[in-house]
């Protein structure tokens, strides 16, 4: 472990590489020499053009896929152990709710797998639904909900077992601008409420990344690499006045320039 700092390192990534081997034997270098430390309580956005390995990096952290080589530790142990210990919640681009479960039962799913008592399952799921403002929809089925509501359920589900790490892969990518803006604020509010929660958020939306994050990791494709990390020093709590501030515009154009370089 490194020397004691003001914040603990939650994720430490050293010289991480990932190659996919497709069925016809072709090798795709998805990530090359990734080095990144993420501290407790940070809100990190991964941004970059499509195919630059954002999802790959997130899925490596989640131990849904394995690295070709390199080091990746979460809370001081391997990604596999972190998954086994249920240390993170994952939110996919599509809400991935189970159609046959009501909203409440969907939020309870991880709690069932993790053997929480019936009483605690119910209590926690209802608390989470309150957090995402969906109490009235507890007994609805997923198809009866709008896309934005479904995604809120999936966030509630990811938070139900109180992981201190939240991994989100373009969670609002499929939503309209208004809904996205509302959910951004909700997410910030939740992140502010749960102290010490670390969020890693994949997006290709620049203003979203800047508005939400404490750091924006700009990635470049072929092979996927980290090209720059931008500190977002906008004050908290963020709100409508953030969106109007000069600093916000400045940071957006900074990230945009970096992405333009990356694209060529």
């Amino acid at each position: 472990m490194t020397a004691v700092q003001d914040t603990k390192t939650i994720i430490s990534i050293k010289d991480l590489n990932k190659e996919y081997v497709s069925s016809d034997g072709k090798v795709v270098r998805a990530l090359q020499n990734i080095n990144l430390d993420i501290h407790e309580g940070e809100f990190i956005s991964l941004i970059g053009p499509s195919g630059c390995g954002k999802s790959t990096l997130l899925r490596l952290i989640a131990d849904l896929i394995q690295p070709t080589n390199g080091q990746l530790t979460i809370n001081g142990h391997s990604a596999n152990e972190a998954r086994k210990n249920r240390e993170y919640g994952f939110v996919f681009q599509s809400a991935t709710l189970y159609d046959w479960r009501t909203v409440l039962k969907n939020v309870q799913l991880p709690l069932e797998v993790m053997r929480y008592s019936r009483k605690e399952r119910d209590q926690r799921a209802r608390d989470m639904l309150k957090l995402v403002d969906l109490t009235d929809f507890a007994e609805h089925f997923p198809w009866q909900l709008s896309g934005g509501m479904q995604q809120r359920v999936s966030i509630a589900r990811a938070l139900a077992f109180e992981p201190n790490l939240l991994l989100m892969d373009e969670p609002f990518g499929a939503l309209d601008e208004m809904t996205r803006e509302r959910l951004n604020n909700e997410l910030l509010e939740i992140w502010g409420k749960i102290s010490s929660m670390t969020v890693i958020f994949v997006t290709h939306n620049i203003s979203e990344a800047v508005y939400l994050s404490s750091r924006v990791v700009v990635m470049s494709p072929r092979p996927g690499q980290i090209s720059q990390i931008v500190d977002i020093d906008l004050p908290h709590p963020r709100g409508p006045e953030t969106l109007d501030s000069d600093r916000y515009f400045h940071l957006i154009s900074e990230v945009r320039h970096l992405l333009r370089e990356v694209h060529d």
């Binding site: 849904l64 599509s94 189970y98 797998v113 089925f141």
Partner: protein, 330 residues
């Protein structure tokens, strides 16, 4: 155009009536009307064919096919009213009306069909879960499962009945076995499909919880397969009735529809309407079984958006049944 002011409560304006008619046609009323319309068309086609072809030996050739309109004679195609009459008349002197006998026989056959259906469903589900669990078993056993369905059931039935008699001292035990043999296959195929047709992210979600294979099976794969399973059951329910009738034939048992079919086929010349009446009752038994399965599906799968016309029909139909039935849930 009527001009009733908005302030009046529920004015029966023409547009409102038209709207209600539309609603009626979309709902149960439409279902019933369509059903009756098609029934009338079928009756018309049957009697119309008889009317054109009645009592002629008119033949003509249409390319390689010889068409002989004497096929529509009463012996081959009895009038529908004669079939209805045959149902209401006793088939033997002093006996009860034919319909009563046939309903009793249909009950016997249906009971065996349900037992066979249940056994077949159980075997089908077990095999599918086994196969989903082990690729090796699937690859090893699937060819045999497929091969089992290529053996004509008609050839197999007499053997099974003989074995059943030797083994259990009863021919009746063999009958549901034959039905089950026919019924398990679609259940295995459809269930296997449903167990594996899971969205990749739904699986990754489970993986992110470090869920065990068993939890993935019961919380994801199996619920995902339920609609597929009902598709299979809707195929096997009427097929079970047919399977049981085939199983009855080599037993010589006279209690079921199979016995009645053989019997009335032998006396076809003297009374063709009775065989047709038996066919009608057999079809009704199959439909009854199908509707029961469809109703169960509707009860179980409450979480699905009614997606197609049939679904919506069944939905409105059973909502209507619930509406008029004295048993109310809620």
């Amino acid at each position: 155009m009527s001009t009733v002011s908005d302030s009046q409560p529920n004015p029966p304006t023409p547009s409102k009536i038209r709207y209600n008619l539309q609603e009626f046609l979309d709902g149960t009323g439409g279902t019933v009307l369509y059903f009756i319309a098609i029934l009338l068309c079928l009756i018309g086609a049957w009697e119309g064919a008889k009317f054109i072809g009645q009592e002629t030996d008119y033949q003509f050739e249409l390319g390689p096919i010889k068409i002989n309109l004497s096929m529509t004679r009463d012996l081959n195609m009895p009038h529908l009213k004669d079939i209805a009459e045959a149902l209401s008349k006793p088939s033997q002197r002093q006996g009860p009306p034919l319909i009563e006998i046939l309903v009793k026989k249909a009950t016997y056959t249906l009971r065996l069909a349900i037992i066979g259906f249940a056994i077949g469903t159980t075997i089908g589900l077990a095999l599918a879960i086994l196969f989903a669990h082990s690729r090796l078993l699937e690859r090893g056993l699937m060819p045999y499962v497929v091969a089992s369905q290529t053996v004509p059931i008609l050839a197999l039935a007499p053997m099974v009945i003989i074995w059943s008699e030797k083994l259990f001292g009863s021919r009746e035990i063999g009958m549901p076995m034959i039905t089950a043999y026919l019924a398990f296959f679609p259940v295995t195929i459809y269930t296997l499909r449903g167990l594996s047709d899971v969205p990749p992210t739904a699986l990754e979600l489970m993986k992110s919880y470090a869920a065990t294979r068993r939890e993935i099976l019961w919380k994801l794969r199996f619920p995902n397969a339920v609609p597929y399973i009902f598709t299979a059951l809707k195929i096997t329910a009427p097929a079970s009735v047919v399977g049981t009738i085939i199983a009855e034939l080599p037993t010589g048992i006279q209690d079921g529809l199979g016995g009645a079919i053989i019997n009335f086929a032998q006396y076809y010349i003297s009374g063709p309407a009775r065989l047709w009446a038996t066919n009608f009752v057999t079809a009704m038994a199959g439909i009854l079984f199908f509707v029961t399965v469809a109703f169960t599906e509707w009860l179980v799968i409450r979480w699905k958006r009614p997606s197609n016309r049939l679904d919506r029909w069944i939905d409105t139909f059973f909502k209507y049944l619930r509406h008029i039935s004295p048993i109310s849930n809620d």
